[in-house]
Symmetry: C2
Subunit: 557 residues, 2 copies
């Protein structure tokens, strides 16, 4: 993706197969014209196909996912069964000569097929995503086919580009990528609804099946086995006191051992109970896989801080989870987050990093995905390219929370209506955030120094004792894109903040340890990766910018 | 990380704070000598500190995680309380002048501190990782402090480098990074033990708490409420038949509505039952978050195939999970996998890709992490650098499974003892794999065309009907590093393979759809990311090469 195509004379061969990528033909500055005369093999799926000249040849528009543009392929009836080739969705692998089409046609190069290598046919009557315009909602029910559509393929390329831009940005700035855990026994904010990860249910089901096949031993069985042990024990004792010969004693001891083994097996089985194991009226998590209750992470921040407080510049980029029953177009149960954490950095450094990162991603899309962005501008959001240009080149406005509230109050006085009341101390609602970035400043805005009452315990208390060094980056189209803060590095203060918020101290002892020993000023933030894609593409529903969306009632595949 | 440092005249400023990275001083070809005279600020943690000259000054060896080398800092007693600075683990942010030390000393540059900006103190009597040599096992119990050790920090840099090398390799070759789901309702191979993801237990606990506070309505309550509804209904009917005035009717209807609401609330509450919801004697998964049973993924392969069969070159790189009770040094419950999938590619293309990828990673480490590799060679595995050099430059041996068995049988004849029997049809054991790569060929070996009986249903059946187009990449030190295959693209054959293996068809209908419509030759493989780190570093236990290891009984943080 990273290379810029030029007009050199040969098409770029696919590194691990004998075809060339369609992108390497049609995305050249000359549209591929300079490649005429070359023999190539291409593979892809037919977007549209039609027979022409009374069935003597067929035009196929073929796409292999390497770029949004299709590639025109012409097949003679003498070469293949054209009826098999033309249905939308057919896969083809074909070889032939590149030719310049007649002047006046849109494309600059096309392929005259000499040989059809492979065909994967489609019965158009049964194909689940026929050619007609399909809604994104309809496609959500055909999750395994939707990457074959122009939109979902373009989203995949944009998502891929933003992911690599993310890694490249942090790597170039000396950050280490840290894989924070997905399964966690810490709850980041003592808040969010979490998914539980367990083997207790499957273990219980296994035991239930086993008990049906093989009922547990009864008390009577156990008593009988105990009697046998007693009897065999007495026999051994008798032989010993009788000074019987060695073999007789050995044989008798061996019988006793067997009886004991049988008893312990029966006792073991008599304890098997259907259902999830309980202890003192509660679920006995000591018997769960990790010997304690475990959850899916809601954020890697607290864990990645252990690395920031050791190797200074780090970031995570991974899936996070919320078990909230939100059915909105902005929430997913599984979504990806980017969370950098910087040691020896304060809230200002944090804002600088966030601004540089967002700008870098916008410029990256303009540089590497312009054709996909044009597709988005044409089909989803006319202003998306202008938005990327503006964000990549305009310094972000920075205002305190107090200034933000004053601006909003002034707007209310001038007649602006908000659904949510504006006053110092409120959490800014989406409508407030969008007013600031879209109406008031018309560019990205960073709001910082929020009231401590509405923010998490780990954010650093400012000298005014009323606010914390938190910051949110607001952008047009989606509102809040990033939330971050300087972390409270002072042991006494963070401890009393945890107590103030009535959170238990014990689960945070390891986190407090980072402040007890060699504590360091540090800051970080989180960017919702899908939000960034919504911002870039103008797509409305978050379910359409992640390959396999998970939300209440749905987890296809 | 990617840039090579040269001897230009200024130290590289940290992009988002006012310090410079220690790496930008000490990792220059001149060891930093050329920077003498510059004023810089550095931050980091004291590795060792000692007071000298009867307490008139202190030497601090400071490390900020940007490279394995420490940086020597000298502080005069006039500048700061030296006793506070010298304990191992203390964080310091200091400013001063870079100076060339006296000739004959190891380091080429040191810092004369003029100002101590910040100190995070350590009480050495309480510090959980004191200076003495600590075992990796000991450190596993102090997971939040272990990144402060030289070994775990070096592993973090190597892991980071391999992750970015992975993305760079696939991006440069035109692959799209696809985020396959973590929560899944498909089981990749119908085999592996999976973790269940659920909200049923927490919901049940919530209901139980609620029922204790507020007992469920009794049948009598419900009957009484029904009677009220009946009575109010009759009242409305009477008023209507009496043609009473509008207000009276409205008031009466409103009372009826209230009575109905009360009834439905009571009925709702009377249904609340403690425990996990059941239906027909089984757990009622319709009431779980996703309205069905859900698990943590064991592999993204099947899902990523939906993208390969649409945009042709893709890869996943994410966490995967196995709920196996393995306590070995080679298994984790949560580990990371890299899984590329290539359309229009056969098993040979697949092997080419795997070989190129492994070589690329080895060369990357030699280029970008040589200092960390030297640390590993010195402390863990003398041969690790030679191994990277050999793998990056030697063509991999390729042999069929049948040839591999013949080689092993010949070795047995010559007196080689294996614990596991060798004969055609067995799954190669680790001892066999390591014999092939370490003893017989002494280089990486790709074994391909395995008996179909020991491989997964989705692997392509060869023309001999006995083997499938599977391949494993074996490397010295760890044995199997990669497993892959050409996928069965023929609908009839894959369907009968699923049936042959007595797997249910229904859960695979979507996967079969990829073969029903526009099917395409495709291949892919999986690389266990932690295995690659073990291979590179020579570290023995997989729990030490992932930041937060999860295994039976343990999931710290």
């Amino acid at each position: 993706m990273a290379t810029t195509l030029d007009n050199t004379s040969t098409a770029e061969k696919h590194p691990f197969s004998d075809r060339v990528l369609i992108r390497s033909i049609v995305s050249r500055p000359d549209g591929g014209a300079g490649l005429a005369g070359q023999r190539v093999r291409v593979g892809g799926w037919v977007k549209t196909g039609r027979e022409q000249g009374k069935g003597s040849f067929a035009f196929l528009e073929v796409n292999d996912g390497s770029c949004p543009a299709n590639f025109q392929v012409i097949v003679d009836a003498a070469v293949a069964d054209l009826g098999q080739l033309v249905p939308t969705g057919t896969s083809v692998s074909v070889e032939g000569l590149l030719k310049n089409p007649p002047e006046g046609t849109k494309q600059k190069i096309e392929l005259r097929v000499e040989k059809v290598i492979d065909v994967g046919t489609v019965d158009p009557a049964k194909y689940p995503i026929p050619k007609t315009k399909l809604t994104l909602e309809f496609l959500r029910d055909r999750i395994h086919f939707r990457p074959r559509t122009n939109t979902i393929a373009a989203v995949a390329r944009i998502r891929n580009a933003l992911a690599y831009a993310t890694h490249t940005f942090f790597q170039e700035h000396g950050f280490l990528y840290i894989h924070t855990p997905i399964i966690t026994t810490s709850d980041c904010e003592g808040a969010g609804e979490m998914f539980q990860v367990t083997t207790l249910i499957s273990e219980a089901e296994k035991i239930e099946k086993e008990l049906i096949k093989n009922p547990p031993s009864s008390e009577a069985d156990v008593e009988a086995a105990k009697a046998v042990v007693k009897e065999k024990g007495e026999a051994v004792a008798k032989l010993k006191s009788d000074k019987a010969n060695k073999e007789a004693i050995t044989a008798s001891v061996s019988e006793l051992t067997k009886a004991k083994e049988n008893l312990s097996k029966l006792e073991e089985r008599s304890k098997l109970k259907p259902g999830i194991p309980q202890k003192d009226g509660k679920i006995d998590y000591a018997q769960d896989f990790f010997a304690r209750q475990a959850f899916l992470t809601v954020s890697g921040q607290l864990q990645v801080e252990t690395y920031a407080c050791a190797v200074s510049n780090v970031y995570t980029f991974g899936p996070t989870f919320r078990a909230e029953h939100s059915h909105t177009s902005r929430h997913l149960a599984e979504f990806w987050m980017v969370e950098p954490e910087i040691a020896f950095a304060d809230i200002k450094d944090d804002m600088n990093c966030a601004e540089a990162y967002v700008k870098f991603m916008c410029q990256w899309l303009l540089d590497k995905c312009f054709d996909d962005m044009e597709f988005m501008a044409k089909n989803y959001d006319k202003s998306c390219i202008d938005r990327l240009r503006m964000v990549s080149s305009t310094p972000f406005e920075r205002i305190t929370y107090t200034e933000a509230v004053e601006i909003l109050e002034a707007a209310v006085k001038e007649g602006k209506k908000f659904e949510n009341k504006v006053e110092w101390g409120i959490d800014l609602a989406s409508e407030h955030e969008r007013f600031l970035t879209e109406v008031k400043f018309q560019k990205p805005v960073i709001v910082y120094n929020y009231p401590k009452g509405i923010k998490a315990f780990y954010m650093r208390v400012n000298d005014d004792s009323k606010t914390v060094a938190a910051m949110d980056v607001l952008v047009p189209k989606v509102g809040e894109l990033i939330g971050g803060s300087q972390r409270e590095e002072r042991y006494d203060i963070i401890k009393s903040r945890i107590e103030e918020m009535r959170l238990p101290l014990e689960p945070y002892e390891w986190y407090l340890d980072l402040r007890r020993f060699g504590t360091v000023k540090h800051s970080g933030f989180g960017l919702g990766f899908e939000r960034m894609i919504l911002f870039a593409t103008g797509i409305e529903n978050i379910r359409d910018v992640i390959p396999f969306p998970r939300y209440p009632g749905r987890a296809d595949l």
